[in-house]
Symmetry: C2
Amino acid sequence: MRAVAIRRGSDEPELIEKPRPEPADGEALVRTLRVGVDGTDHEVLSGSHGGFPEGEDHMVLGHEAVGRVEDPNGTGLEAGQLVVPTVRRKPDGETNEYFRRGEPDMAPDGAYHERGIVGDHGYMSECFTSPADFLVPIPEALARHGVFVEPLSNTEKALEHARASRSAFEWNPESAAVLGNGPLGLLTLWQLTQEFDRTYCLGRRDRPDPTLEFIDEVGATYVDSRETPVDEIPDEYEALDFVYEATGYAPHAFQTIRALAPNGVGALLGIPDSWEFEVDGGQLHNDLVLHNKCILGSVNAGVRHFEGAAETVSAMPEDLLDHLITTVTDPEDVAPAFEDGDDQIKAVVEFESP
Amino acid sequence: MRAVAIRRGSDEPELIEKPRPEPADGEALVRTLRVGVDGTDHEVLSGSHGGFPEGEDHMVLGHEAVGRVEDPNGTGLEAGQLVVPTVRRKPDGETNEYFRRGEPDMAPDGAYHERGIVGDHGYMSECFTSPADFLVPIPEALARHGVFVEPLSNTEKALEHARASRSAFEWNPESAAVLGNGPLGLLTLWQLTQEFDRTYCLGRRDRPDPTLEFIDEVGATYVDSRETPVDEIPDEYEALDFVYEATGYAPHAFQTIRALAPNGVGALLGIPDSWEFEVDGGQLHNDLVLHNKCILGSVNAGVRHFEGAAETVSAMPEDLLDHLITTVTDPEDVAPAFEDGDDQIKAVVEFESP
């Protein structure tokens, strides 16, 4: 079968031929429809994040997939069922407490593989196998947009953790900002518009721009970070009850503390590299304490977050979802899916018409 | 009546004469037994924190009090009942949503006064009045040690918020550290020994020292920060599921992120001044995200936290509580209560023998 992979020593995706996988006991075989490309894939290609499966000279890319069950293999799934696979898997088949309690997203380093990212092949191939427990059934209507379930599962988890962090008191948030106007930022922005009275989205683009159009369409306010840095949002707009950081720009973690309203929470999801810089650490520490603020990091997601994300995608207007998909490529010609221009929002590789 | 106050322009406590207060409707009159002195009192004296009641040339000090109801004034309290007053009050008698829902500790700047700290007289006087809702009844056995209820109420709240922040998954913490071996740090350390398998307490003292003896007595491990900075605790000892920062040393907020185990939470309670320094912001941001870590600030406490703290103090062995009180002074001679030597743990001003 055809697969799109990265070879050791290369930083480019490549079309390869691989044997079709055979489902083991408890696994189903899934026919891939579409696989999305995101920032993590770019980090995997550049070598700054992730790692190859042991003993393999390549790794199949892709962790944002939607597919159709080809062979349920006695797992209880139905042939033809639309599914989205989760990302984390038991390392080398060995289970641990995190997988046993259905919280692989809380497993520490070494206690998981991530398909298409670290230690395990991804989904960018005609077929893949997976334990049925990690295949989340989604409605048939999501065949085209099921690639958004995995990214939004991360938001589902981050929001769950953020709300939990504010659950010891009566929290009545009204304002929220998303830092970053990539596909995950925009998807999350729509979700936040459903819950918050006033929403903002940070970027550094000039109009006309398809992401700024999306921000307008959902009724959010665009904040140009070249004019208004994150820590100046309270002066220019208002202090924020919730901030969602999705750029991985390291100073955002610290500027977010200043941007928060009293009792607010910032959720960090971007993954920056090492970078030393100066902060007013006394001010930040003081501000966190005197205003009961909270900053938390969140990575990956579990099955319940995928289920919540599928509901969110189902609730999103189709035209907004279509607006986000700017490139659909064939596995024979994936280069355009890995280009990162200002016109690109979400690119998907399509193995079979949904 | 006699009161210990700070006058505008001075940085020393002073014994003054004041009229005995009259309880208004809904208020009770309380006879003061003991009032503790803590770091916040020192900040009030130095002028780095807090502020005088409007229109007054002085502020009565003290926010850690235990007293006995002298005149219930029809509030439902019983004459003779032992009580601890909470600290925050409605500003200028005007209520707001935070007070209405019993969460004054979550009120933002300007939406509260703090007795003995900002905008309102404290408890370091023969008598004080308070709305009965802010007088927390405590058991008669706590007459001598009731001064520990207010400090521990802050811990009660911080722990509540920390646990809430980890409530979206199964958190099974085993290790905890208190940064700071002041009286609040030591009280909290004892509380943590009841919940965590392994506890650590950070300080920078040489033996023999009464605080290090306390750390030994409760079965915790002393970490000398001159040898092992906070961010090196994982290498030297172990990564920590919970960190409680009670020194107000600004770099601790950032070192705590490194000291935490995956899925851990750090609660900040100290209140540093502005201080610019360099951090590896990329590393910290990355570490928060990839290991689902959380940092939260916590200030003040509500009635339920005072009630929880009273239970904790009741459960603490008397000899440990006695170990913590190193100075008992008379209001006529308060200077020793405001000295801050290495032999000092908790000083109290005693108005009436408990």
